[in-house]
Symmetry: C2
Subunit: 437 residues, 2 copies
């Protein structure tokens, strides 16, 4: 993408309304623009990061055996009357009447709808187990939206739903999602801690939140220091082996970790003092086992192995995909801007032409841009070097390939690693190799 | 995807409400399920087709120099008051009040919002030209939704918006989108005809609809037979060359083609009788040039080359992405089911194991499935061969790899091409090569 033709705007001023770093940087770097309170348009730079994060979430759901579908944003009120949640949900639910005065709503979650869809097709225990998921925009009419995409009203969520024959199967699905979640966050360079949590309006009796530790987090958290040094390899666990899944769940749940809502002072006392950590965190995922709450209420019953009808045991599993953009920035930034981890960077590199119009600079930049297959941001604007440095730091591409007249004359590129500030002078070929990783 | 574990349900009965082939087949093959009138959930099979279609649309927008962003579904009413369309739009607009009683709406289109966003960042003529697009769910509260996803209420649309310094530039952008559209539909195996069209609520004085000829189409159309044999190569036209774009536009607009709303009997009389074609068609795209209608109304003015403010000339360009799934099926089906064109097929092949439990059949199927990298539907269900044949025909995978005991004993696969019914006995290696294309 040539910056001279791109729609990649940055702001010089820090918007007054932004209280936390990720919100400030997302506005300044041109990732998003607020269009109403708590509702954002994703500009090209932000959308690319969002899509990369979404793709990692998708790949790990698929790997765990979940199957992607897509439910609509607008749901009929009747479904929520069946489960009894229509009246319970309160003002966070965006309620709508269509032209025929039918009661509709903008989905905040999809337990009812997925149960209704599954019921339409599944016939017997042979249709179990299944995990279905979708990645779709949701709406929760927060009374006070804040922190940018971290607590917006229209947000992108991955929500999965498991259907199993019995509790044992449901716990296996729950553990498979635990593994998929830990791997998802690990791939994004995030250290997530699963914490015992309240089930809230979803219901059920088993629930974990996945928390990224960050000073600006909304939740107070208590955890064992062992999580800080927890070391595990995804390849050591097989989704098809229940014992592997049990072993992984045990690894994660053997140490104390809880949000303040579930904090248990008696259990906390048993954690050795030197291992007790208190802090704040950002919730990026939440999983629930709730048994037959929805299947029973909505009449989902399948023929069991003995022919008698059985209500599937269910769970649901959410990841805040758009919120993750903010969480990743909270964990990866400095005063100058964003420092994207490679796996989620909108582009891997920016090419900075320090002297546009200089034949050697122009030629080397064009060669580098072509060698990267156009998969870089080429700053070919008629701007001062200082502006280009500042924008590249702000937008946070993992690599900056800096081309000035002196280096260009001898075919050399100065390659800067945004995360560390490390610089080295390299040939074009080496620059391409390093950027391509 | 192993069918024994997949959520790929099919229906034996033809749903009574489906009046046209695509609607009937989308329900029977398990592509979608209606969740409210005119609102559909996309099941895994349908979602995969939708995503492939979406990706072709995206690639051709990118190739034409358009830049992807993503605007939210919920918009503030004030924006539409600025343009004057809030009251004009009527009951098709889904109007919403949030918990603070603010007037919102579910976006049916985005001229106002994109103009407002562009205005926030663009400063001068150097920020022109730009084409921005997004692929997002829209809502139009149709009084009588019908024909499945062809006239649904919640639908996926690609909408692009061009900003140019002057009319000449705007016409160039308009022509670039004409080329991108024709290439988009061509890649999907569709023959689209651009027809002069009414501008309707978008406004402006130049507009074309892109129509796929189909008996079940909602629009009556009149066109020159020359469109049936029109031959053109995308590679003959360069998006950066205004003369190429003018030449392409001339090719498309030199022959008569109009929907009944714009039909001109006087011009029609000049078409030689033997070249006059009347029929019906499905609108899959619509492009508009409307000058400064929105930029002027919403105060978008940039510093021109002479320093004086100028309102950019704009156009907008829509493709009905979810509707295309229906249109492609209308053009590619028979009594038995869908016949997916290769570029948009959810999976390239189904592997039909005719005798599950037979060691040779099971082994050959597993080898073939592995050789295709899991990128096939493997029908490993405990079902009769007839059920497997019928489901594969219904779901419409371009290839069927049929494995029975006789062939399996000698390592042979019967490969059936769904589109033509042609069958051949081949080795596993040849089957993989043909399926991979």
């Amino acid at each position: 993408m040539r910056l001279s033709r791109a729609f990649l705007p940055t702001l010089k001023e820090t918007p007054a309304e932004a209280q936390i770093a990720s919100h400030r940087l997302m506005l300044r770097a041109g990732l998003v623009r607020q269009t109403s309170a708590g509702i954002y348009a994703w500009l090209p730079l932000g959308l690319r990061a969002l899509r990369r994060i979404e793709q990692i979430v998708r790949e790990e759901q698929d790997r765990a055996g979940a199957q992607e579908m897509l439910m609509p944003t607008i749901q009929p009120a009747e479904l929520w009357r069946e489960s009894g949640r229509y009246d319970d949900y309160g003002k966070e639910m965006l309620r709508i009447r269509d032209r025929h005065d039918r009661e509709m709503l903008y989905g905040p979650t999809n337990e009812e709808m997925v149960t209704d869809i599954f019921k339409a097709y599944a016939r017997s225990y042979r249709d179990l187990p299944r995990i279905l998921y979708h990645i779709q925009w949701k709406f929760r009419d927060e009374v006070r939206p804040r922190f940018g995409v971290m607590r917006g009203r229209e947000f992108l969520m991955k929500d999965a739903y498991s259907f199993d024959l019995d509790k044992e199967g449901a716990i296996r699905s729950y553990r498979a999602m635990m593994l998929a979640y830990m791997r998802t966050f690990q791939r994004m360079g995030l250290k997530a801690v699963p914490m015992a949590a309240e089930t809230g309006p979803i219901g059920g009796d088993l629930s974990h939140e996945f928390i990224i530790l960050a000073e600006t987090g909304e939740s107070a958290v208590f955890y064992d220091a062992g999580f800080e040094t927890l070391d595990w390899e995804h390849s050591d666990y097989d989704y098809d082996d229940p014992e592997d899944l049990a072993r992984f769940a045990a690894l994660l749940t053997s140490m104390y970790a809880a949000t303040d809502e579930k904090h248990d002072p008696a259990a906390w006392e048993k954690v050795p003092t030197e291992r007790r950590r208190e802090g704040r965190g950002i919730e990026v995922g939440h999983i629930f086992y709730f048994g037959t709450k929805y299947s029973a209420a909505m009449g989902l019953a399948l023929a069991g192995p003995d022919g008698r009808p059985v209500a599937p045991e269910m769970g649901s599993y959410g990841i805040g995909v758009s919120r993750l953009v903010g969480a990743i920035i909270e964990a990866n930034h400095d005063e100058a801007g964003i420092k994207w981890p490679d796996p989620v960077a909108p582009w891997p590199a920016a090419i900075l032409n320090l002297k546009r119009g200089d034949a050697a600079c122009d030629a080397l930049c064009e060669r580098l841009y072509a060698a990267l297959g156009g998969e870089a941001v080429y700053d070919d604007r008629d701007e001062r070097a200082g502006v280009k440095f500042a924008d590249a730091d702000l937008m946070g591409f993992p690599w900056q390939a800096i081309v000035g007249p002196r280096g260009a004359a001898s075919g050399r590129v100065e390659l800067k690693r945004r995360a560390t500030g490390e610089r080295q002078e390299v040939s074009l070929e080496d620059a391409v190799a390093k950027i391509r990783g």
